[in-house]
């Protein structure tokens, strides 16, 4: 039972990550390989605020969101005017820069040693101390984020993002400030990635930089590719499938050393196959062309 609750909690965390990246991939049509960086920034900011300044979980989470949004401008401002493949490379660069900082700024982040002993969230005087209650707690936050992202996606803002995805020049000729809209979409996606960062830190009560690597960014992106983009259901289907998949592999009885690589190979193959045979993913609306 605890095992199942653990998986469901991870799904709650990843759903927010994936849905926020969906705003970029499925709506604006931007491939970003920096989502794990924002996830990590959120985790570290909230953890440091809780541990160094003694803030509560929710205020720390909200400040982490604000901080992550501000940091998102350092990459979106220089790179969002550029062609698609340049942007991908720039976002990858940002991911690597953030990882390097988390890993090497030992005075602040303790680098590879990680930060242990993160206190459990306390909510109206109740400590979220069992795995069941953490599942509920993360579920509530995931539901709120999903609701907000749904509202944003279906608003005129979401519509104009899709218009940009389809034809930037036509959208500009209709008076839409493309660069500003893209930068805003990027900031929103980054801000929503910070929340699961805080949830993840509060759940494991330990963070180190290896949870926020390039491969993690690739993993988040591959969930969208496989599940599908441009709506709410694609990313959710993708998340559930991709979080359960390694557990299924474990049941098959692959040795642990091979299992991690095997899992990655399956992700890679799935991306290739989906791109070839089903570019809208399993349940997406936006069909990559």
């Amino acid at each position: 039972m605890n095992y199942l609750l653990h998986i469901l909690t991870m799904i709650n965390i990843y759903v927010i990550l994936v849905l926020s990246l969906n705003l970029l991939v499925g709506y604006v049509g931007l491939l970003s390989l920096s989502h794990a960086a924002f996830y990590g920034i959120g985790a570290y900011i909230s953890t440091l605020l809780i541990m160094k300044l003694g803030l509560g979980f929710l205020p720390a989470l909200l400040l982490a969101v604000v901080g992550t949004v501000l940091l998102s401008y350092t990459i979106s401002l220089p790179s969002l005017r550029l062609r698609g493949d340049y942007f991908v490379l720039a976002s990858l660069g940002f991911q690597i820069i953030v990882f390097t900082i988390l890993y090497n700024w030992i005075d602040l982040t303790r680098g590879p040693y990680g930060i242990p002993g993160i206190p459990r969230p306390i909510f109206f005087g109740i400590e979220i101390n069992s795995i069941g209650s953490y599942f509920l707690f993360s579920g509530v936050i995931a539901a709120i984020c999903t609701g907000l992202l749904y509202l944003i996606g279906n608003s005129p803002f979401g519509r104009v993002l899709k218009a940009i995805r389809e034809d930037e020049i036509a959208a500009a000729a209709l008076g839409k400030n493309i660069v500003r809209l893209k930068i805003n979409a990027f900031a929103i996606a980054a801000g929503f990635a910070a929340a699961p960062g805080a949830l993840f830190a509060g759940y494991l009560r330990y963070i180190d930089p290896t949870s926020f690597t390039v491969m993690e960014s690739v993993f988040i992106l591959s969930i969208i590719i496989i599940g599908g983009a441009g709506n709410i259901s694609g990313p959710i289907v993708g998340t559930v499938l991709m979080i359960f998949l390694p557990e299924v592999l474990r049941f098959i009885g692959l040795p642990d050393a091979v299992a991690a690589n095997m899992r990655q190979i399956i992700y890679g193959l799935l991306i290739i196959l989906i791109m070839r045979y089903r570019p809208q993913g399993l349940s997406g609306e936006y069909r990559f062309e």
Binding site: P156, R159, E166, D167, A172, A173, L174, K176, I188
Partner: protein
């Protein structure tokens, strides 16, 4: 009087002059046709006005305001709309969404407000939907409202792009080859639209290769060659000019 003016505008691509010290004005509520051989610089002029490319020198002004070098979205918000030759629809959006995306001043285009005051956005959206339906009825696509734009025929796509342009509610419409690729029965109604728009006070600039169309709708005709205005005047004057005939029309 001229509402939109180009003054001494020059633009070169990789050293080749596409537009050469060109000065040209467009009259309010009139239809001006740009004609000339391929490569004369007609579409480049549209791109320059729209801000998609910047002139190397010279100035572009709209209602006496200098708009040279403004970003395309900014130019559009001033009231200059563009119909692209290759329609450029938002293909994987519905017909309805294509129109809705074009309206100006949408509260809900601000993500923050769309979450904070959703009721206001919903109310606004209702009135936009009504206007979108009117526009779709105007071009005869009301029954296709929920189809994806990519599934329309080319003629229908052209009509949709016109409806989308109208949703922008611009005062100046730059129309690039409206009749190209449209079947003849539809051409008549298309021209009828354009004339009606001019009567309603829109300033229209149209690039057109079909001389019959030019004669039928244009108030002014501008014949361009090699990035310069060779001849400007009433349709009969310009099209009757033996030089123009010799150089281009071959009538």
């Amino acid at each position: 009087m001229s509402i939109l003016e180009l003054e001494n505008v020059t633009k070169a691509f990789d050293g080749v002059l596409a537009v050469d010290k060109l000065s040209l004005g467009f009259d309010e509520a009139k239809i001006t046709a740009l004609i000339g051989p391929n490569g004369a610089g007609k579409t480049t002029i549209f791109n320059l006005i729209c801000g998609l490319i910047r002139p190397d020198s010279g100035a572009i002004s709209y209602r006496t305001k200098n708009i040279t070098g403004l970003a395309p979205w900014h130019v559009a918000q001033q009231g200059i709309g563009r119909l692209f030759q290759d329609v450029r629809l938002f293909e994987r959006l519905t017909v309805n969404d294509n129109i809705l995306a074009a309206f100006k001043n949408q509260t809900g285009e601000n993500a923050f407000l769309s979450v904070v005051v959703p009721w206001k956005v919903v109310r606004e959206e209702r009135s936009f939907l009504e206007r979108a339906l009117q526009l779709l009825e105007f071009v005869g696509l009301a029954d296709k409202a929920n189809d994806l734009a990519e599934n329309l025929s080319y003629g229908q796509q052209k009509l949709l792009s016109i409806a989308r342009l109208l949703a922008l509610d611009a005062d100046v419409l730059l129309i690039d080859e409206p009749t190209a690729g449209v079947n003849p029965t539809m051409v008549a109604s298309l021209l009828e639209f354009i004339r009606r728009l001019a009567k309603e006070g829109k300033t229209i600039v149209v690039i057109e290769h079909n001389m019959n169309v030019v004669v039928e709708i244009a108030d002014w005709v501008c014949f361009m060659n090699q990035g310069q205005v060779e001849s400007f005047g009433l349709p009969n004057e310009v099209l009757g000019d033996p030089e123009v005939r010799a150089a281009y029309i071959g009538l």
